[in-house]
Symmetry: D4
Subunit: 211 residues, 8 copies
């Protein structure tokens, strides 16, 4: 494994094993890293894994194609204090919401999904107000103008992690419009992760839920 220095100590230090970012790595490189992690008895999580490489690595774990995530959990244990909500503005945002939901679950959290509740039809969101107040952390996934986290944050006292998606065209500039909208949200209690970074939102939410 000249190509990688696997951080086996990370589980001890941060509570979670090293997660493998699949983009830009060959199937052979990923297999090598996975071997070290699994060999040490740790769980395996590979994100941004395209279908071609996943086909070559099918023996390593379960692959979720829409989320592009491969998971191998030795034994699933509920490590959280409550549920994590994954709220999604539009149907086109589902791949990112899936990544968040699958990662959150793989890290030992119960997940509650709410889908297609964009702000152009407010009643769809308002129908879920109980969940907004019950779940421990709210992951809010939205593209285009990314307005949903602002509205959600005004309806709850729970922390909101906003995920801008690259859904949109023209002046959405691959998710910049949503990213800026979320960073400048008038709603309080919103923090933001990278564009399309369902993984990062789930990871932060999991740290919060496991406090």
């Amino acid at each position: 494994m000249d190509d990688a220095t696997v951080d086996l100590d990370r589980l001890e230090r941060t509570g979670v094993p090293e997660v493998v970012f699949g983009e830009g790595k060959s199937a052979a490189q990923i297999r090598g890293i996975a071997g070290e992690l699994l060999g040490a008895g740790q769980d395996l999580l590979v994100t941004r894994l395209d279908a071609d490489k996943a086909a070559q690595l099918a023996d390593l774990g379960e692959y979720h194609p829409r989320a592009r995530v491969l998971v191998k959990t030795h034994e699933w244990v509920d490590r959280g204090r409550g549920e994590i909500a994954v709220i999604c503005a539009g149907t086109s945002d589902l791949p990112v919401a899936d990544e968040a939901a699958i990662v959150a679950h793989a890290l030992g959290n119960r997940v509650h999904r709410i889908t297609d509740v964009g702000v152009a039809g407010l009643h769809r969101l308002l129908a879920h107000q109980d969940a907004l107040r019950r779940c421990h952390v709210l992951i809010v996934v939205a593209g285009m103008e990314g307005a949903l986290p602002s509205v959600v944050a005004g309806l709850t006292d729970r922390p909101v992690i906003a995920v801008p998606t690259s859904i949109g065209y023209g002046a959405s500039f691959g998710g910049i419009a949503a990213l800026l909208g979320m960073l400048t949200s008038c709603g309080s209690g919103v923090s933001v992760v990278n564009i399309d970074n369902g993984f990062g939102a789930a990871f932060s939410a999991s740290r919060i839920n496991r406090l």
Copy 2:
């Protein structure tokens, strides 16, 4: 008047006299242009006029300092078919909303104001749903993430003209976040004018209201 070629024919062609953009013009230049317009019996509207220059031009008309607009209307006539709503997300956006409201009125429209109804407290906006459906055109002014027009457009069948403001800091980038948010709005029926361009929104709304 070597410095300007006043377009006295514009009233005939477009229904409204030339409007003077005050920024970058000296008080003397503005007085010259105003003289030609008023001399031809046309109304006078000067925008982006700072207080110093306004003081030198106080005899020409009425100056609105927060909106930085100077108006001289020979006789106000209601030229519109309905009301124009000017809806404002936050108190800090008021200078732009004022510009829109004053210009809309000067162009012969009745104006209905709704102020400080940002999306972080939805009930404030929902209390005005009747007006959202009654007014003929809705001008929606917002800074930061600029989410208000998306929510408004989902509650009405009237045309919405969105005005991003430069209110905000950091990633709001002087109004770019709001501008992009409005351009990529998931709400249908929204069109957008330049950052802080209350004048432009009022002008478009007036053309619509006078159809």
Copy 3:
């Protein structure tokens, strides 16, 4: 339909059914949403639908390949007070102009087309001055520097909705040059929609025309 929360109430609230944004949705997802809308007796409009997915959905309605729009109207009714003009600067802008024209018609408006009248040959536009003054709303589609709306706005008293297109190269930056040009237009009465957003322009124009 776990993947979508169809907003069947939108027709009541805003006068027009939910429109389906086809990009980023699978054919199966679109079919599901379409089923709910059509099942409720509402019309169907799908935008940004590529030819591959359209072939799988051919039974749902009529597909316009250059505009990438699928339409199913139960009964076309003229709901507008006048005509909507769709004015196009260059031949290369036609796909966006087509989207605007087809959507405007599907929403119950008569449409008047004017094509290839860019500002480098002014006489081509000036030949249509009657239409510029007769139509109720003018949609102006242009790429490159996007100068056409400024010129049009100076020749009429009607509202102008400008649509920047991504036509151009280099410093056009995928439509940014045209977008900025339209937002900063010296012509009054111009509002702007997203790059290549013929749909949005038509939707706004339709709201205006139905007032």
Copy 4:
């Protein structure tokens, strides 16, 4: 109070009263809003309040000049489950770190400060590893390249909220370099707020700490 629609219901809905963003509001406007909040028995927090306006509002509460925050707490109660760490990369970042610390305390949290521990001298940070593992939430404030959150996240299992600051020059572009660095952090468990937004970080951290 025509200029504001105070959201007195927000305390009920979100657990914290409306916070006043001082920028772009006049002292008179702020006094009006404060009157409504205090009159309803709620606490007062004004951010981004410059020294001039603070001098006119000195009777309303305690002003912290470096943080530009004004606070009036009726009775301070510890509402958190643990401590919030406020970690600061450089001395020049202190105004933002102060804003975070003062807001976090005003919202009912105990705060632990760690100052001037940038990554160019790692031993300074490593000396605080106990605190990085003990505190419930870590707010990490950094300008320039904003690398500190990445390093901190690798040393703890607690959620990290990163605050980019506008400290730097040239290619720091007013905090953009730090913002992008934090959004693309290789460290997991990091979420990000707007440039210089110490308030937002404290607000999110408080929601987490009060779970």
Copy 5:
């Protein structure tokens, strides 16, 4: 003169003496450079010279305050084959147009001025069609969307040099909108210089006119 290496040979090589860019240089530095140039019998042209420094250098030549140019010509000679037109879209663009006109004249060209002929009132420009065809080179100065050069280029067979100005606000981004508009102009025969660079346009036009 340790601070400068004056290029006295430039007159020989390029036909024009070194021109002094005044911004960022002290009055003492400019006086030193001027001394070398004048001592060698060459003409002196200082651009971007603010009023304060100009007052200290009043003995060196004639200062044009609106254009911020200082000129000392030993003997004016007509070196051009025809006239250079300096066409200006709006009154606010005059400082840049003045810089172009004064520099063009200082370099030995006759100059024809046309002012305030923006595209929102086309008849103002069309009244000057003879000049557009008679002058040898056309310098076109415009801010906001910068549409004027596209229209001019379609009315003449002469080379057009476009100068974007920083006039505008919001999405004009200090002249970027006009710059991009001119670079992507649909009009042929247009080349562009830097934002507010009246000097550069005049210099290029002079090289053309002296061929």
Copy 6:
């Protein structure tokens, strides 16, 4: 020909027939436009024509694949007063330089080519100083940092038209680095056209050369 409004009058007005921008037009649309131009006895010039469409239009004229230009000249006449130099910084810039050279020739100018004379090996350029002073107009094509026009402009008294190319990677941002470098050139007498716009440079140079 519903898709185009051919500007047959342009030859009269500007001295050159309408040139067809091939990108975004179908072969059928181009054939239609070409038919009108050729039918009126005018020359045909199509730029940005990819090989596939060119194969369908092979009967219309001569196609230059590297330059992506199709030309049909009824009779070549030397209309210029001197030569136009096309100077190219690197081998990778040749497609753009070819476009400039072929268009310049098609418009009736003699062309002198100088290739691969980037500033990292100055002696290569200095070997051509005679040509830099003899040719009437100099087109300078360069990618990466685009420094060549600055150096050329210091060695001649002729007008320089700079063409940035999209050659480069990373911080060249598709030609932006070269574009900005040329716009801010310390060399006088340089004007700039759009990225990769060899056509535009040739057109401007031809207008100059035909004066």
Copy 7:
């Protein structure tokens, strides 16, 4: 060889032959340039050479596919005073690190590789502190937030050349986040080359190592 002006004198002037940038050149053009260099007895180095063109040029030298570099060294001589370290933050950055290592070696330097030592697991880097102090120059390759050079520079007194990579997604913007992070590094002694420019880093390091 009309398409290139090979700079055979460069070896004399700068100590290294001209290096061929393969992107945008045809295999035939590269073969022509290589022929001139090899014919003059100089070494050959081609960078950014894709696999297709490399296959056509296989006889010219040794091709390294991950680095996309082709090398032909007549006789390898150690020309450096010490070792050059090539330090790589993640496995995905290896293609760029390879380019740096292979070019550095081809230019006559010994190379020491350190791989996958990103800042999220500091102990991996700290294990190599001896090498950080022993090597003469340190090339540090990193994507995402690009924090590694800041940390390295604080652990050594050797010059650090930072190479941002385009690894990442969303707000990494193709390497911009890493580039800005490195330019604004709080670590002293860091200079930066273009995104993905392993070649440039190796070239600079070689100049330093050969002093």
Copy 8:
């Protein structure tokens, strides 16, 4: 000293004491940090120190106003193997070049200055070719298009550190044009530091010169 954690160990680790970045720190904070450094017998270097704060700290060392640097060296020792050249494109770039030269000298290096040798008058630079080959490291400071490092790198075999300056206007965008130009330089052996970062260039050059 609650506001700072001075890194007294840095001298041992990196060969140079901590350098104080003056921007954003109060005079009192700087005095505190300086006290710790001087108290430990280390030298003092404060950069980006404006004149007002320098006046309050005049007792601490020697202040260079144009460079905004304060220096206190206990005993100057020549620690370098050769000279460092500081080459400056224009007179307006001198403040940055001064910072580089003063810092390089303070760090124990002999400095050779070359001033005002921009590429528009090549003979000025060519007159210094001996120095370009004799000095050990070349710092090249330039604003506007930043072309000078490319030309210098082609004339020497020494490492070149390029410093873009914020000198220029319009499309120079505060130094971005020069920064991008230097990063994409066609000259080999060039690495780059932040805009206006004379300090960083000197620091890197000193590390190289002390090898």
